[in-house]
Amino acid sequence: MKKRRWYLASLVVTLTFMTVPVLSAENQSSTQSPSELQAMSILKNMSEYLAHAERFSVTIRDGYDVVQGSGQKIEFGELRKVTVSRPDRLRIEVERSDGQKDLVIFDGKDMTIYTANHNIYATTSRQGTLDQAIKYALDDLKIRMPLALMLLSTLPSELDNLGVAADYVEKTTITDVPCDHLAVRTAGGVDFQVWVAQGSEPLPRRIVITYKDETGQPQFWADLSSWNLAPDVSDALFAFIPPDGAERIQFLAEARSAAATATPKKGGNK
């Protein structure tokens, strides 16, 4: 009988041990861990802080992988100096890694892009807020504006819409200011990491985005430095005065939609 009890006991104990990992795994997935709660809170702080800033300027040095046909990854990059003055002013100076220099300006009435290398610009009338102008530039004109989401006053709700789930990685001190390193997943197959400055100015200092559903899982990274929450925002900064000899051209998207409206029956622009 003693032996029988021993076998029974050992069977029960073994089965119990085998069940524990399964149960604990279920517990983990159904509730947020302290580190996840902490990360979400930091992310929210950052987005609220940025969204409510009346004005700011920041220098962004970014790079991104382009997966070539051969599978080889090549990195390109650029330097962007961004100045935002809410509700309706924006200036972005771009210097690409190949030397092309662009300027994007919105003054509440007009959106202009200028390319110094060609001495060419295009201006479109766009009365409205900065948020509206950014969305128009991105969605309709297809102007490159990496991290444009960060410039929106609706950043917190935009992040909610992405279905973000954040986790805390570590506190890092090798950045120019101590940062909280967060790992964030979105519902849309894009992961990103953000390093948020600790202290009273929870601004993003570094961002790495991974497009994990894309071939080769290319990444976009950006170091954000020289944050200034009280930059000069004089009117001159947001006024575009075409340089001598600058040629004004149209945005293709607008030219095509104008042509389609003007001659709907021809439909020449397919």
Binding site: V67, D98, D213, P218, E247
Partner: protein, 356 residues
């Protein structure tokens, strides 16, 4: 007794299984870390064209992608993902360093060569944008075409590979242009300053490149003469006149020698320059290279005048700005273009001749 042995029968295997489970689990995790690597590194033929395209899904720096999420991939443990990217990264590095060696050996030949490669890369970057623009209009169709184009290049490269150093170089920086340049080096006429001597009447191919200094990006001046044709040149006849074609350059007999001439419209050549990209519009597809449009026919590729509405991303160096009724156009080789912003890039759309 029976009961006990039954219990024994159940308990012992269960314990054995549990112990095995404990032992195997760390191994499984360990393998999981490394195993993902194969997934990370493969593929990449989505964007064709070769060279170094500047446009890709990461270039926009957005926080979302057009694609839906794949839940399966997302359930992987963090360790697995970390391991996978690490592995593919190191694999990538190996590729890169071996490529670099190739590059060094191939581009250390001469300075001009390097410049040419840089130019090619610039072109390809811009061409990447065109393909993207076309993809907007034509969807998968255009992407497929560029994939085919890429395949052709690859095949061509493979054929060329190892034949000789000159073609080896051609493989790497892809292309015919370099072939031409090597040719030019041999004959000492690389400088791109000479003007084409031809007539000036527009439309007539003699004036096709009127005012244009060179066949853009080539280095061999139009009008330059050579004593003998490059190897593997193809004779073609256009409207009764003999020409020779080799690596994207056209030659016409001139006395005892051969003059470099503009691509004659109507000429049919067996293959397009490797540096060409596929462009589409008005229901037709063309190969475009340096201001010349080629259309595929049953006999080969025919040099044609493009219809309005074709987008290209770079014009040859010799394109001139002409203002007609207050609108600035570009003109090159009898083809007229109008510049537009497509996103942040200046691109050029073919238009009907505004003066005619």
């Amino acid at each position: 007794m029976i009961c006990r042995s039954l219990l024994k029968l159940i308990a012992i295997p269960t314990i054995v299984v549990f112990v095995l489970f404990l032992v195997i689990q760390p191994e499984a995790i360990g393998r999981g870390r490394g195993g993902g690597g194969e997934r990370g590194g493969g593929g990449g033929e989505r964007r064709g064209g070769g060279g170094y395209s500047r446009e890709g899904s990461a270039s926009e720096g957005r926080f979302s992608s057009g694609k839906g999420s794949s839940q399966g991939a997302r359930t992987d443990s963090r360790q697995q993902r970390g391991g996978s990217s690490q592995q593919s990264r190191s694999g990538d590095q190996e590729n890169r360093s071996s490529n670099q060696e190739n590059r060094q050996s191939s581009t250390s030949q001469n300075q001009a060569q390097r410049q040419q490669t840089a130019k090619d890369q610039t072109n390809t970057r811009q061409q990447g944008a065109t393909e993207r623009t076309n993809a907007d209009q034509q969807g998968a169709d255009s992407r497929q075409q560029s994939r085919q184009n890429y395949g052709q290049n690859t095949q061509q490269s493979r054929q060329n590979y190892g034949q000789n150093m000159q073609q080896n170089r051609q493989n790497y920086g892809q292309n015919a242009q370099q072939n031409r340049q090597n040719f030019a080096n041999n004959y000492g006429s690389v400088e791109s300053s000479g003007a084409w001597y031809g007539g000036t009447s527009p439309g007539n191919w003699g004036g096709y490149y009127a005012g244009v200094a060179t066949v853009a990006g080539v280095g061999l001046a139009l009008g330059a003469t050579v004593q003998s044709l490059p190897l593997q040149s193809t004779p073609i006849v256009v409207q009764g006149n003999p020409y020779y074609y080799s690596g994207g350059v056209y030659y016409a007999p001139q006395g005892d020698s051969y003059a470099v001439v503009p691509p004659p419209r109507g000429a049919v050549i067996p293959s397009v320059p490797d540096s060409s990209t596929t462009v589409s519009g008005a229901g037709r597809t063309f190969n475009y290279s340096n201001g010349v449009f080629y259309e595929s026919t049953s006999k080969g590729y025919k040099i044609v005048e493009p219809p309005p509405g074709i987008l290209i991303t770079s014009l040859p160096n010799g394109a001139v700005t002409v203002t007609v009724n207050g609108v600035n156009y570009r003109e090159f080789g009898g083809v007229w273009y109008q510049p537009f912003y497509s996103g942040s890039e200046v691109i050029y759309q073919t238009v009907a001749n505004p003066t005619g």
